[in-house]
Amino acid sequence: MENKTTRLVLSGAPHFVTSNDIQKTMGMVIIALLPALAGGVYFFGPRALLVTAASVVSAVAAEFLFRKALRRETHVTDLSAVVTGMLLALILPVSSPLWMAAVGSAFAIIVAKELFGGLGGNFANPALVGRAVLLMSWPAFMTHWSPSLRAAAVDATTTATPLGILKLGGTLTDVMKNVGVSGKSALYLQMFLGNHAGCIGETSALLLLLGAAFLVVTRVIDLRTPVAMVAATFAASWLFGRDPVFSVLAGGILLGAFFMATDYVTTPVTPVGKWAFGIGAGLMTVLIRQLGNFPEGVTYGILLMNVLAPYLDKIIPRKFGFVKPRKVNA
């Protein structure tokens, strides 16, 4: 009898946990990114897969080797490095050299994540840090755009993104010409489907929203931040006299709003903080698009808000049974 109980485990309550761990959560995000990746392959060819593979393999290897070198427990099975690798690939041009994608995701993992203690310790979104570093280091590669293989007018090997055309002084009519359609609604449709130049995974609003819907239904992400970011982009673009629908569909707004601004670690946890983060990221993006040197501002918009996230968590929601103390008249 006693031998049965000599090895009893003592631990604190609860003695129960859900099976829903970090690995499962990251797995859901990977599933949600697959439509956008498939879109990248459809619009820009199989090279999209190669770039993604290089980025993912490099991210996982970087995390594994770095933690091994530091003699720490490795956590690559939690799949967070895979998510970082995928996210970075989806915000690179399809023509990116494979070594550059690999360098970017290794930097993202080691400098932006592991040097801060690994998943949970980082203050900035690793994939966005990776992209920011690549943009500064190899601007030519990072602004080399291939047209969509499915576009009506494919006669060039390089082109500009819709936002790039605007930045160079073009109008929406020039964008329509580039995309090969006439009329605003036709342009919106092509942009919604993703049939235009851009990063591998950012062009198709349809496929991004499909993945995002999956994350919302499975309650992996909270809608507050992305809704705030899209709404702020829409409103601010309109105030600046930019076409608001075009502004939301162009560039990385939807990918950023639903997959970057919803990153758990680097964004606020409080409801007020989430709204503020989304509004701030949307505003910053539009300001950069309008006033900055870059055609697109999602990367820096979100990174800037990442830095503010801890401050945005200062306003905590009402607690159960909490009654506001009455103001005493002095």
Partner: protein, 446 residues
């Protein structure tokens, strides 16, 4: 129809099937018991007997002149063998009276008392003398709970039949098997506090107990309007504050008590004990509890004298498998893992669970990924991840500002945490540290 409930909470697997349809089994009279002198929140009892004394079943063996406190009584008739510290289910050794049965069945119960005819003071004294405490786990003296200050009138008394902890079915069985006792106890408790109405609150997965209870309203309500409320099946629906919110819509104020908003909750087993204390003069010397878990070959509901050693029930009453790795007193969400089977059933023991190695997995804690699931789960509407971060930074004041003291340790946050952080444990520790710091500040006149 949406069921009444509260915001937050979790849905752990219920695991109630193995025992929910098993009648409560009275265990054979044990040959010895170990009765801890202090089994309630409050003052430490002093022994009223000495080694060698013969004590009768129902005889008071420990008490103290203080409030709150609850007397303890001999649960079998026999000889006091020793009085010394022994392990108890809160992991602290406590002074205990060891009684060896002499095989006789003499009892020393009090005279019956009509709760509806006696004065309020007499009724409260009866609860005190009978050693009645909350049997849901907290073990707060019932005489104190049913005597709120005069400036806090209580209009509603709630019988807490939620039993939201997985595995446990003893309250459910008690309602099914002895509904008259439960309703009678409810009427007595409501009468003592002067409540205008009484409510039996049941989780939707136990709705079968509803007709049994309802049938007894006519004969045992003593003129007090009674009703049944079905609440959603969700953990921790049976948490006092959550259940009050679900039933009445009122929120117990932060740092306050249910009586502040005119409500008192009583556990089902407690109500039965209240009835017995008046009708039979029987003190709280026996109780029902569920035994279950993956390593328990014979899951059942048992009724045993307080002080029965779990080890003594094995293998005669309970059989456990060889791969038992964890023994829990209470439910899996809030219960306490004990290091040995040499622990007696106490007044607050609602269940004893035996978990296999697979059910006792220890997880590596990761850094918080701020996913927010703990905040969604927290029934107190706190932000556990921020409290955890504040405690990590040794910032007790910040943790306090976020609401550390409002945490009632239900375990919902730890249950959902994908990083496997033992949030509830950290908050228990943090609350102790904070109380110590506040006490120190008070001493230094800060």
């Amino acid at each position: 129809m949406s069921l009444k409930t509260f915001r937050g909470g979790v849905h752990p697997p219920e695991h109630k099937e193995p025992t929910r349809d098993l009648p409560i089994e009275h265990v054979p009279a044990p040959t010895s018991v170990v009765i801890h002198l202090t089994q309630a929140i409050g003052a430490q009892n002093q022994p009223l007997v000495k080694v060698g004394d013969r004590v009768l079943k129902g005889q008071k063996i420990g008490d103290v002149e203080a409030c709150p406190a609850a007397a303890v009584h001999a649960s079998i008739t026999g000889i006091v063998k020793k009085i010394e510290p022994a392990p108890q289910s809160n992991l602290k050794d406590g002074m205990a009276v060891f009684i060896e049965a002499d095989g006789t069945d003499e009892t020393a119960y009090m005279a019956p008392l009509d709760a509806f005819a006696c004065s309020r003071e007499e009724a409260i004294k009866r609860l005190r003398d009978a050693g009645i405490v909350g049997m849901g786990g907290a073990s707060f003296p019932t005489d104190v709970k049913l005597a709120p200050p005069a400036d806090k009138p209580v209009d509603t008394l709630i019988a807490n039949g939620a039993e939201c902890e997985p595995y446990l079915t003893i309250d459910y069985r008690t309602m099914i098997e002895t509904p008259a006792d439960v309703v009678e106890g409810l009427a007595i408790a409501a009468h003592i506090v002067g409540a205008k109405r009484a409510v039996v609150a049941i989780e939707s997965n136990k709705a079968e107990a509803l007709p049994a209870i309802e049938r007894e309203f006519a004969g045992h309500s003593h003129g007090i309007p009674m009703a049944i409320v079905i609440a959603a099946t969700k953990y921790p629906e049976g948490g006092e504050k959550m259940l009050i919110k679900a039933v009445t819509g009122r929120e117990v104020p932060s740092h306050g008590l249910p009586a502040d908003i005119g409500v008192i909750c009583q556990n089902i087993g407690t109500l039965k004990a209240v009835k017995e204390a008046f009708a039979d003069g029987k003190p709280l010397i026996e109780r029902g509890f569920t035994v279950a878990g993956g390593a328990c070959i014979t899951p059942k509901n048992l009724y045993a004298p307080i002080g029965t050693m779990i080890a003594d029930l094995i293998p005669g009453v309970i059989q456990i498998s060889d791969d038992v790795r964890k023994v829990i007193f209470g439910g899996p969400m809030m219960g306490v893992a004990v290091p040995t089977l040499q622990v007696p059933v106490a007044k607050g023991t609602s269940g004893v669970l035996f978990f296999t190695a697979a059910e006792s997995t220890q997880y590596e804690e990761r850094l918080c990924i701020r996913c927010g699931r703990c905040a969604d789960a927290c029934p107190a509407l706190l932000m556990p991840m921020l409290m955890n971060a504040a405690l990590d930074a040794n910032d007790l004041n910040r943790a306090d500002a976020i609401g550390l003291i409002d945490c009632f340790e239900c375990g919902a946050c730890s249950y959902v945490c994908p990083a496997r952080i033992q949030l509830t444990q950290r908050f228990k520790l943090g609350k102790d540290l904070l109380r110590n710091q506040r006490a120190k500040e008070a001493r230094h006149g800060k």
